[in-house]
Amino acid sequence: MKKLVFIYLIGLSTILSAQTESDGIMMSKKYFCSGLTYSYSSWDHYWEGTFKRDNENIGRVSTSSVAVMGAYGVLDRLNIIFSLPYIRTTASSGTLKRMQGVQDFSVFLKWLAFKKDADPSKYLIYAVLGGSAPTSNYIADFLPMSIGLKSSTLNVRLIGDYQINNFFVTASGNYIYRFNIKIDRTAYYTNEMIYSNEVYMPNVFSSKLGLGYRKGELIIEGIVDSWNTLGGFDIRKNDMPFPSNKMNMTRAGINLKVPVNKTNRLSIIANSFYTIQGRNVGQSLSGTIGVFYIFDRNKNVQTPEISE
């Protein structure tokens, strides 16, 4: 009956996945870029509300994930992007059993809405529309071991990209509508008792600012991003976390994309983020490496062009 003190956090994976829907690049028509990434993130401190603490009953909570992703140029100015991660969560101390499984499939339509070339400057505006849905019946109500929050989402993102010579700045804002979820309990306490197996999931606004160098397929970028839950409640002292907590975070990180052959078809990506401020989330340090390959679906083969 009694519980404990295991607290935690989160399916960061929604943020970690598919960097490509939030960056300032597009695949040309009929080019298909596919990738495989491996991510690892872990934390041993977390915020209960605004109270920062550690917890010897979970030690370090780590999340490993492997994701397949792809981006296809439907048109030069319209890409479709998808990703699907497999996730495993483990705690280094305590008794809680790890959890793993295929998490949420996400798909985005990315549209280059505005482009202005004023050499040496370029102005680009993208609109991204997408959504995600869980692909397996994983358990969201066992944080921090749960692999995700199991909420289906609709996303609307606007990206502005400005480039001068090879230097660029990218800013984006993303509104995420989150559908309510169902859990296996028929009653739960938030700030009040609720007798339902349905959980109200507050929506989210996330934003990102990137600054860097871009040449061909080479990208070196410094990033600050944030995730703000528009509602939700704080984890009380020594309480368990819950999917509808007010999970907020600000992260700083770097993102690299390096072409490994002359045709620019094969490239390696790597990124790393550190949570500098949070609320009801773990203070995670994460790293991702991935390999991307560009296939050309055009009949007349030519060197792939990446519109920037």
């Binding site: 009956m1 009694k2 519980k3 404990l4 003190v5 295991f6 603490r53 010897e56 009953n57 048109l75 100015r77 319209l78 101390s93 305590g94 008794t95 809680l96 059993k97 790890r98 339509l109 549209w111 809405a113 609109a127 529309l129 019946n137 358990i139 109500d141 066992f142 609709l154 609307v156 509104y175 509508y177 559908f179 309510n180 859990i183 296996d184 309990r185 028929t186 009653a187 739960y188 306490y189 009040e192 008792m193 609720i194 007798y195 339902s196 349905e198 959980v199 109200y200 999931m201 929506n203 009380r236 002292k237 020594n238 309480d239 368990m240």
Partner: protein
């Protein structure tokens, strides 16, 4: 082809714009429909099929007689004082606000039900284990200084079981006393005295006489007991009681003097329960460091592996002397006589097999088992397993058209059984001090939080055995579903890899025996 390109682009842009507009409007639409409907919001007005006017003859829990506490006779309905009270009701009804209407609708589902829900909420709010001190010790909640961290109480399962029992039993006694005086004074409800008054609750709720108000007796008795059990919530509780009482006046079901008399009677009845609560040994249930280590030493002296907290820093065991608390249905001698036989020695082959079985469940979870583990977790921040059974009981009772006094009697039987289940289970836990499966085999990982007290017997199983047995007696048509719930609650602790199967099976049997004591009481309390 070339000339087509711009057209395609424009079309694409239009489509994309359309998609964005559509998605935003879709989002807005769904935003408005994300509201969660909580089950109790849907409960309809209490509409008892029989008023149970003979409840004054039912057997109270603590009162020696229904008129052990006396209240003064009401003034006549043709007095100017009474006329003033009638005018107050007409005044409220002439200027009815939406908030007042909502309040009437909320409370007309029944005071016993609503206060049970409020109590469940208080339990969940306070069911948080204290956070450690910087030196690795744990602070204990202190009722003399309830607001300082950790707030008093930590309403863990035994504490909660006791709280549910006191509130339910006291409400029951208060309603028996109210029943006695209603029949003695025979004052009609205001809607029957004055036709200008509109009755805003079902007429079946005022079929009994009106003085003293039963609803106010419920509010009065509950407030006093909750003051003791949840002292940081007094302001919140008083506000609820104020709303409850006022809703009855505005609804035309009671006059102010009916309410005041009921409230006064409730408080008098509460005094008897409070005196008992202060001397039922729950205050000493936490023990002290010397006692905690003596439990361990006694176990080692017997050659057994003692229970050790698996929390870090090591947390003192939960309420090790709760087995000594004075029960309502089971006395101290019966606790000892009914104690289950010892679990197999931690050195035995039998024990090893029990551990292996838990390991198997830990390593082979299924979706179905996870579901049960989660459904019955009832851990930190919840209303606890006794709260879960109160929720199950109330959902069953709302369809039964009980009178308020029968509601109170049924919940009192349920909650006295569960409090005594906690006493008997905690007695066994600390007499045997049996280690948890994952203590003896660290390969066992748990699918839910590991409770911080010994393994044998399972609290969930004992609570559930007791609850299902008395509920099956009260609502026989639902016996199959209550027993299924009890079996699932019990097994969920094995599936979660925090209990041996034996803990669950023995706990269930023990719980059923306690439930039978409640059944015996039910068959002789005059209500059947």
């Amino acid at each position: 082809m070339i000339s087509m390109a711009p057209i395609i682009k424009i079309t694409t842009m239009k489509k994309a714009t359309l998609i964005i507009v559509l998605s935003i409007s879709t989002t807005l639409y769904f935003s408005c429909s994300k509201e969660i409907i909580s089950v109790p919001d849907k409960y309809e007005a209490l509409d008892p099929s029989q008023p149970d006017i003979t409840a004054k003859n039912w057997k109270p829990v603590l009162l020696s007689t229904p008129n052990e506490f006396s209240i003064s006779a009401p003034g006549p309905v043709n007095s100017s004082d009474y006329l003033a009270e009638i005018n107050e009701i007409i005044g409220w009804q002439d200027n009815l606000t939406n908030d007042q209407k909502e309040s009437i609708d909320y409370w007309k589902a029944g005071g016993v039900l609503r206060w049970n829900e409020i109590l469940r909420e208080l339990v969940a709010r306070h069911n948080l284990p204290p956070y450690q001190n910087s030196d690795g010790t744990y602070p204990a909640p202190n009722s003399a200084n309830p607001f300082s961290y950790p707030e008093f109480p930590f309403s863990n399962p035994p504490y909660a079981a006791r709280a549910y029992a006191y509130v339910s039993a006291a409400q029951y006694d208060a309603l028996i006393a109210a029943s006695f005086y209603k029949d003695l004074f025979k004052r009609n409800s205001p809607d029957k005295v004055n036709t200008e008054i509109q009755l805003m609750v079902p007429p079946s709720q005022v079929e009994e006489y009106a003085y003293p108000s039963g609803e106010a007796a419920i509010a009065g008795v509950t407030v006093e007991i909750l003051k003791l059990l949840f002292p940081t919530e007094i302001a919140y509780i008083q506000q609820k009681a104020y709303e409850h009482n006022l809703s009855r006046i505005i609804a035309g079901a009671s006059t102010r003097s009916d309410i005041e008399a009921g409230e006064k009677l409730g408080k008098l009845v509460a005094s008897k329960f409070i005196a008992r609560a202060k001397n039922d040994r729950a205050g000493q249930a936490g023990g002290n460091a010397a006692f905690w280590s003596s439990l361990e030493q006694q176990c080692v002296a017997k050659g057994e592996i003692p229970w050790i907290s698996q929390e870090s820093p090591l947390r003192p065991p939960m309420l090790p002397r709760f087995g000594l608390v004075k029960g309502f249905l089971v006395d101290s001698i019966s606790v000892i006589n009914g104690r289950p036989q010892a679990p197999p020695s931690t050195n035995s082959e039998e024990f090893k097999k029990d551990v292996e079985e838990v390991l198997w469940y830990s390593e082979h979870p299924t979706k179905e088992r996870y579901k049960l583990v989660d459904f019955w977790a009832d851990g930190a921040g919840t209303y606890t397993p006794p709260g879960h059974w109160n929720a199950i009981a109330c959902e069953a009772f709302v369809n039964q058209k009980y009178s308020e006094v029968r509601w109170a009697r049924n919940l009192a039987l349920l909650n006295m059984a569960m409090m005594d289940a906690a006493i008997c289970c905690w007695d066994a836990k600390y007499v045997y001090f049996n280690p948890r499966p994952c203590q003896v085999n660290p390969k066992i990982k748990t699918l839910t939080g590991l409770p911080n007290f010994p393994s044998y017997t399972s609290g969930h199983s004992t609570f559930s055995g007791a609850a299902a047995t008395i509920l099956s007696h009260i609502v026989p048509s639902m016996a199959a579903s209550f027993n299924k719930y009890a079996d699932e609650a019990s097994l969920s602790r094995l599936y979660g890899a925090i209990h041996y199967k034996r803990d669950c099976e023995v706990g269930l049997v023990m719980g059923k025996a306690i439930g039978e004591k409640a059944v015996s009481r039910a068959m002789t309390d005059g209500a059947e």
